[in-house]
Symmetry: C2
Subunit: 340 residues, 2 copies
């Protein structure tokens, strides 16, 4: 007999806990959660995105604290809003809870999620609860498009032109190192690899940079933009409009100098006989922003956005990184078979 | 090593399949799926809701066809929009797929979901894919509030007054019978219990009735409204503003005559020595609409809404059904221990 959400959690009790971390009233909502639907306050066009965050697929409870899980589940969704230049406003939360989750765990999880919501005062608009064998978090986020309602800006992936500069905001390769050391050493890895572990456990969505890019673009040709979630090697072709095999779109000549990589990426690569640039190139779960813009926008963007870094130029065809073609570099991903 | 979505499904291939069932362009969306976010067309305030639909919690693959799963996953979400008097517009889909799901299964699943979307031309605005041990569907829906943007109506649960008439649109108890016979006999049950099985496998969200109630209410005191998903016995107190124990809110005197129940409910109860009214009262997954309105609205509502049925009156306190108190009737739910 299928059974909906069950003990040891009372649904009412969980709803009360939610209210401690997320106020029911918000200027993003006309009607808050607690009814069959919530009602979003009308405004300009809303950007919307959904991401799953699943135990033993996207995270492990052995080295993610409950706070980390709550934080990252929301942060990876917020990163999609950042990638469109939108301002985060609200989200819904669907939660599948295994029987061993207790109230202390839930409170910590919600506190971590509230940490991720706080910078943009995001409202929790509603959700659903069920029992589940493994912890399951499904989130949908809304953001206000920049310039809405009158001069709405949406930073899309496509539309770069040959000669455009390719840029990056945020670290690449660092979260990959974090995943590797956490898988190997658990939370003991935090001592030697604090930045790498933090990049994997608590990624920082680049919302402010996305808003800056939208503002800069509103007076010029819009930058193209996306977030790097599957690694530069897979995401660069997407930015350029290529298919899965890297065909059919524009090209790029990229330069990733070793000196621009995070010291923990270099140190990890050295310790394991790996090329640090390859680690950065393959990456994964970076949640950096990757984009392209007209070269004359570079100077103001460098000045306005901390961590803004130019990494190459859009070409007619073919992707190279440090003069090596994409096909050759892809071969270095030993995890590719099971990683996508 | 956590791995994102993996073979045998190529993400690109699944996205192409999605496009066969759900066009990317829609008048509900300014920007369709395929980028980091979709962008919703601005309008009045939007109603929003999220529901999980999980294998072996909410459905079994042994007697749900893939079409049924796709259909019901969306229909139960649409029912929440109906319960607020909103018009369904768009949804996002987060899908966790076990390794044994093949392309034919996916196509059938999406065809069933498209069946549920078609009456309101709902757009698929985006989503996420992951591998998962058991099939997992998480959906967020949007609807346009009735009368938006100028005279927005939202049919909430609270706000009934003593003397208001309590009404129901749709069958109660029928899906409970369907669940019982499907659990026992699998799809062979469809032959003897076609209506009960259909009520469980393919519930019909009462969107048109919700819109009619919103329209009727816009010229009078608004009806209160909710959808009956956990059975009348649990949902009536929620409509009346009571807590989980039935305290603190208004009361209701309900009458559920045997003659108003579906013949399959009566036949099932008779065959198992059960009281058919108790079966209807306990229900579960009915997705009927339950509401209360001023008595002078009854005549036009009866005329306008097929299946509209008055079942009682709001009182100052205490809930009774056919003169028996709620506490006594609750005792008949033998499944209550594991059912919530």
């Amino acid at each position: 007999m299928p059974t909906p959400f069950t003990s040891p959690h009372s649904e009412d009790d969980i709803l009360k806990r939610l209210s401690r971390h997320f106020p029911e009233a918000s200027d993003a909502l006309l009607i808050g959660r607690g009814d069959d639907c919530a009602m979003l306050r009308p405004g300009g066009p809303l950007c919307v995105s959904t991401d799953l965050f699943l135990e033993d697929v996207h995270f492990r409870r052995s080295y993610f604290t409950p706070e980390d899980i709550g934080y990252k589940a929301l942060a990876v969704n917020v990163s999609d809003l950042a990638a469109c230049g939108a301002r985060p406003r609200a989200f819904t939360l669907a939660l599948g809870l295994p029987a061993d989750i207790d109230n202390a765990w839930l409170d910590a999880f919600l506190a971590g999620m509230a940490d991720a919501a706080r910078p943009w005062r995001m409202a929790l608009a509603g959700g659903d609860l069920s029992r589940c064998e493994r912890l399951h978090v499904s989130i949908t986020v809304w953001g206000e498009a920049y310039g809405a309602p009158d001069e709405t800006v949406f930073l899309a992936r496509g539309g770069a032109m040959p000669g455009d500069s390719i840029f990056l905001v945020g670290q690449v390769g660092l979260a990959r190192v974090g995943l590797a050391v956490l898988e190997r050493h658990g939370r003991a890895a935090l001592e030697r690899w604090p930045a790498a572990c933090a990049a994997h456990l608590r990624p920082q969505p680049q919302v402010d940079a996305g808003l800056m890019l939208a503002r800069a673009g509103s007076n010029a040709r819009l930058p193209v933009l996306m977030d790097v979630s599957d690694g530069l090697a897979r995401d660069i072709p997407r930015l350029l409009g290529c298919d899965e095999d890297g065909k059919g779109g524009l090209g790029a000549a990229l330069v990733l100098p070793r000196g621009q990589l995070h010291p923990e990426v270099s140190r990890y690569a050295e310790a394991h006989g790996l090329d640090p640039v390859e680690q950065a190139w393959l990456g994964g779960e970076d949640y950096a922003l990757l984009g392209a813009c007209a070269p004359d926008m570079l100077l103001p963007l460098h000045a306005a956005i901390p961590g803004f870094m130019t990494i190459g130029v859009v070409t007619e065809e073919g992707v190279t990184c440090n003069n090596r073609p994409l096909e050759e570099l892809r071969g270095f991903d030993h995890f590719r078979g099971d990683a996508q």
